[in-house]
């Protein structure tokens, strides 16, 4: 039987470079299973990433793939999508990549509602560089640059994406791979800018500094801090503290940027150049 591994993975690159138990591989699995469910043609897919452990995902998928510069995956993807709107463009980013150095690109891609799917692997830390705190590190948690605890307030990336204008916003976890696959599938299928944040584990950086020594400890923690969207809505502000809602938050229809630009082309051509 041909598995998703045989079909979508550059097997010569395996075993992958991630640490034991790293959630990046779980998210990679969720992405290719979602694509398999949709039955997409591999030749039509472009996977774009930035910099960080999670960004190595693009090296493992048998699509046209691109491991770009730190935080810049979305503008690279914007150029690809504008140039050839028939391509299905998936952008994979880490939390630091997307919300710190790439934060401006993130809100503007959402504002334009360009038809890209952004998958953010949120392990709440800069893993590759050794555990420095990111804009998604919860307040009070530790990082190699927050040895006394993090005083920053973290972003709620889903709320940010909704406020900035995305068409689809959801959050899953690596503990719930089946749900994550389903959310990614819906996001891929959605016209416009779609965002799926996947809460993930970095046992060697985040775990080590926050009293979770093993991947198993981290997955148990992820299970404990997440509640379904439905349950979340019934919680008091106090009960919400330190927890994350998971599920689908938004799915709306709004014209995508490349469609709007087609209208511009029509207008420019009809007016014969006189606006």
């Amino acid at each position: 039987m041909k598995t998703v591994i045989d079909e979508y993975i550059r097997k010569a690159m395996f075993p992958n470079m991630w640490c034991p138990g790293c959630g990046n591989g779980i998210v990679l699995g969720a992405i290719i299973r979602a694509i398999d469910d949709l039955g997409w043609d591999k030749d039509e897919i472009v996977a774009v990433s930035g910099i960080g452990c999670s960004s190595r995902i693009t090296g493992y998928v048998d699509f046209c793939s691109m491991n770009t510069t730190h935080g810049r995956a979305l503008p690279f993807a914007t150029g690809i999508k504008m140039a050839n709107p028939d391509l299905k463009v998936i952008v994979v980013m880490g939390d630091g990549d997307c919300s710190a150095i790439g934060g401006n690109h993130f809100i503007h891609a959402a504002r334009r509602n360009i038809d890209l799917t952004a998958i953010i692997i949120n392990n709440m830390i800069y893993g590759m560089t050794g555990g420095q705190y990111s804009p998604l590190t919860p307040t009070g948690k530790f990082g190699s640059t927050a040895p006394y605890g993090n005083i920053d307030q973290s972003f709620d990336l889903a709320e940010l994406a909704i406020a900035a204008g995305a068409s689809y916003v959801a959050r899953g976890t690596v503990y719930n791979p089946r749900q994550s696959t389903s959310l990614i599938k819906k996001a891929l299928d959605k016209k416009g800018f779609s965002v799926v944040e996947i809460i993930s584990d970095c046992p060697v950086s985040y775990g080590k500094m926050n009293k979770m020594k093993s991947p198993v400890d981290m997955l148990k923690w992820i299970k404990d801090i997440t509640v379904s969207k439905k349950a979340w809505d019934g919680l008091s502000p106090d009960e919400k503290r330190g927890k994350y809602a998971i599920g689908e938050f938004l799915s709306k229809d709004r014209p995508d940027y490349t469609e709007l630009y087609e209208e511009i082309i029509k207008k420019a051509q009809e007016s014969g150049g006189n606006k």
Binding site: I5, P15, N16, P20, I26, G29
Partner: protein, 80 residues
């Protein structure tokens, strides 16, 4: 080492569980979160489906494996 790259296949008349030992990094996720305690770690921490008859084919081990090192397939009558 070479032997590790081999796919180890465990099968009963209902399910086939394959473990790609060369890709497995012994993280322990599949063993810990198997709802039916099908898997036990070998001396390197890699999974062995010792209680394969208890497997309900939920595939959570496969879906949660960061290394694509374990797969679960249902066995039909005509399957070898």
């Amino acid at each position: 080492m070479k032997q590790e790259k081999l796919l180890e296949v465990y099968q009963n008349n209902s399910v086939k569980i394959s473990v790609r030992k060369g890709w497995c990094k012994s993280c322990g996720i599949c063993v810990e979160f198997c709802p039916k305690d099908v898997l036990v770690p070998d001396n390197q921490g890699k999974p062995i489906p010792e209680n394969i008859d208890a497997c309900i084919k939920c595939s959570l081990c496969e879906l949660r494996c960061p290394d694509f090192a374990i797969t679960v397939e249902g066995v039909k009558e005509k399957d070898e």
